[in-house]
């Protein structure tokens, strides 16, 4: 299990995967908007998306889990 966390605060601009999706390392998982910049959050590993504890438009703190991967 790998938790993909927000390394800095921001707003979830776009969620690019769904629960159950297979992803490869460096695939874009989420677009986080911080400081007026749309930053792609990349998958740190290959695996399956097991949980998405976020919603589009939601503010997330630094350290918040964005995506949970079974890897």
């Amino acid at each position: 299990m790998t938790d993909v966390k927000a390394e800095w605060p921001g707003v979830v601009s776009e969620i690019k995967v769904s629960v159950g999706d297979s992803v490869s390392q460096d695939d874009e998982l989420v677009i986080l908007e911080s400081m007026k910049m749309l930053t792609p959050i990349l998958s740190p590993a290959s695996g399956t998306v097991s949980e998405l504890p976020i919603e589009q438009g939601q503010y997330v703190d630094e350290g918040a889990v964005l995506v949970r991967l079974d890897s």
Partner: protein, 522 residues
Amino acid sequence: MVWQPEIDELNERKSLAYRLGGEERVQKHIENGKLTVRDRIVSLVDSDSFRERGVLAGKATYEDGKLSEFRPSNYVMGIASINGRRVMVGGDDFTVRGGAADGNVGDKKTHQERMALELRIPIIRLVDGTGGGGSVKTIEDIGRTYLPGGPGFWETADEAMAKVPVVAAAMGSVAGIGAARVAISHFSVIVKGTGQVFTAGPPVVERGLGMWVEKEELGGAEIHARGSGVCDNEAETEEDAFDQIKQFLSYLPANSWELPPRSTPNDDPERRDEELLSIIPRERRQPYDVRKLAAHIVDRDSIFEVGKYFGRSVVTLLARLDGYPVAVLGNDPLAVGGSLDTPGSEKMLKFIDLADTFNIPIINLVDQPGFMIGVEAEKAGVIKAGVRALQAIYQCDVPWSTIVVRRAYGVAGAGHQNHSNARWNYRVAWPSGDWGSLPIEGGVMAAYRRDIEASENPEQRRQEIEDKLNELRSPFRTAEAFNIEDIIDPRETRPLLSEWINDAYKVLASSQLGPKGRGMRA
């Protein structure tokens, strides 16, 4: 042949020193994935260039006036060459007393630093000592305790930071003064898996805090090259660490009195890469790859990145331009929106001080949205770290050039050039330039609140004002007022900077160089 017996004894004593801590300990050391200190030095420096100093130092036992046993000092050091340039190199021998200070004889470490300072050549420390400073065993040996500090390392370490390049590698578990010897450097690298750095190791942590933590979790590469910034870079292997040390030193002069060494240029100074015209997206919120951007400007394959995984919103690259070493600063829009946060500020400060100390001209590729905002950034003291970085900019006096590739906002944006004493910096912008005290989107409500709230349709009114202001946003209007020297075609960046760097090195060549009054803090 008058002195042949003594020469025989000399050779015999040398061979005893070469045995290090003995076969068994050496074997165990190698099994742990580490090279011996002597193999490390040989692997790092030019072949046959190492001339050791102090090989005879050690703890001897005599029987009937004859040498019966010999334990060499656990610090091996001497003078050598790297790519034909002189360096002082030394390393702890972990196989003798775990590299701890009680296995040192005399003070070879300080001797090494004094020698480097006198000869004005770089210092390389290959650190591999548990409790590099003192061991409680010393108390038993000398029959008393002692006050920490005193003559030795600190005076020379501080002086060295201002005068000669200091490079350190963490190649084992290093604690106490060993950790300090890594941290007080211009460039440090930690070997993944076998290198750990901490003020005190797991047993001391357990005794003092009542918690057990594994050494890798306490001070491994993940902690110090990616979290704390105590180490600038991480290395996959010991050989990788040596390669990085060699690369780092290749951009630096031997000391702060000299100019950085020019390499034979390998690239056309007039090269105009088409990619630069499209590298910045038109949509302001879209990021891009700043490392790629830099690579299109500097000489082909000339980049060495320092501190890639720490303070990631700031990118610090050593590179060459028309063969001349340059220090390239950039903002990475892919990390923290490119904003200046506390780690980024710390990284920027150290890099500018490094460049200033060793006379390396600075190129700043600016895309600065401002200081990081929010609760966490405030808790981390962003404004204090930020102003310290800005002070570093204003205190440095190496030639400085600024290319505003996109944003320059706020107080952090103001730190894009060294404008002290109204000095001239080469400063131009790309057509994507976008700047101000604060961004229009955020500033409209604050500045026009009354106007907007009095309107029948506040949202429409806000949009009207924003649109009107956005029309004024073109960087050409700034250039009309000569608030910037020029707006340039991005493809012209390399030819223009190549011209500038040639001029900059001429200025440096006719300047009085030497250590800066401010010294240099690690």
